[in-house]
């Protein structure tokens, strides 16, 4: 079953809020890390939260092209689908 992208967006907003990113609540898929003032450590925390919440493993290489909330949502959805499609 495909992951609900709205659910991922909400998780990202919650996590950004937890790490005290200004404007976390108003973040949209178009919001970039630069606009949100998300630094590399914030991103590490966000990734850990997404890994825990969706039971996925995000590699450092996967993170390199991730520049916006939308990129993070798409990556999470892709990894969840890959996991669910994999043999048990």
């Amino acid at each position: 079953m495909a992951v609900d992208k709205t659910e991922v967006l909400e998780e990202i907003r919650e996590q950004l809020e937890a790490i005290k990113v200004p404007g976390a609540r108003e973040a949209t898929p178009e919001s970039t890390w630069t606009e949100l003032d998300v630094d590399s450590l914030d991103l590490v925390e966000l990734v850990k939260a997404l890994e825990d919440r969706f039971d996925i493993k995000i590699n450092d290489d996967d993170l390199k092209p991730i520049e916006s909330v939308g990129d993070a949502i798409d990556l999470t959805a892709r990894l969840v689908e890959a996991k669910e499609g994999a043999p048990a």
Binding site: L41, E45, K48
Partner: protein, 226 residues
């Protein structure tokens, strides 16, 4: 911001010497102290082994709670002039003193980030900044700790986490009984230090008042390195 009440303070090498004094002091300060040792202490781990450290941290979280204060005090010495120092002596000392501090710090940061509060104190040594012949391995590891301290401090400064170092001079412990007499003559204070004096400095660095002290090295050495 003050420490969450009863926060867990993990002291590596906390069963004896300087570590034991730090454990007593932090307990008196209101922390829930947990000691980690290779064979002694509340939990056991080889700090130089990342997997062993991870297992120990899982045990600590389960039994006591998240680690919000970490004192990296586990240490070992294997002295010898560099020309006679074996690769094993080098690697063992660097592994315990430097790699061990890194492995423990990495694990503790997970808990500290979640809490938005943390205190890390690395117990380095005066030899990190003032060379002592016969301790190339120990001095290099302890100097590495100082650089790591400053880096972690900068990385975590926005997260309510501080990382500082203490550089004890000649302190009365099992580790220094063989060298204390020889070194005391060079100590401007004219005496060797007590473990409790190091513990007092650590206590300050873990206190509410030290929230803005980050990336610092506090010498407790009777002016030996001054």
């Amino acid at each position: 911001m003050s420490a969450p009440e009863g926060a867990v303070a993990l002291i590596t090498g906390g069963a004896r010497g300087i570590g034991a004094a730090i454990t007593e002091r932090l307990k008196a300060d209101g922390f829930t102290t947990v000691t980690l040792g290779r064979t002694s202490g509340d939990v056991q781990a080889d700090v130089g082994d990342a997997e062993s450290v991870q297992a120990a941290f899982e045990q600590v979280r389960e039994r006591f709670g998240p680690v919000l204060v970490l004192i990296n005090c586990a240490g070992e010495r294997q002295d010898g002039l560099a020309i006679r120092l074996s690769a094993d002596q080098w690697e063992s000392v660097v592994s315990t003193n430097l790699n061990g501090a890194f492995h423990c710090t990495r694990r503790a940061l997970d808990d500290m980030l979640k809490a938005r509060w943390g205190r890390i104190v690395n117990i380095s040594s005066v030899v990190a900044e003032r060379a002592n012949p016969g301790q190339a391995n120990y001095g290099a590891a302890k100097a590495g700790m100082l650089s790591m301290t400053r880096t972690i401090a900068r990385e975590m400064a926005r997260k309510g986490i501080t990382c500082n170092a203490v550089t004890p001079g000649v302190i009365e412990t099992d580790m220094t009984t063989d060298v204390a007499d020889k070194l005391v003559a060079g100590v401007p204070a004219g005496r060797i230090g007590r473990p409790e004096e190091v513990a007092h400095a650590v206590s300050f660095l873990c206190s509410e008042g030290a929230e803005y002290v980050n990336g610092a090295t506090l010498a407790v050495d009777g002016a030996l390195a001054a």
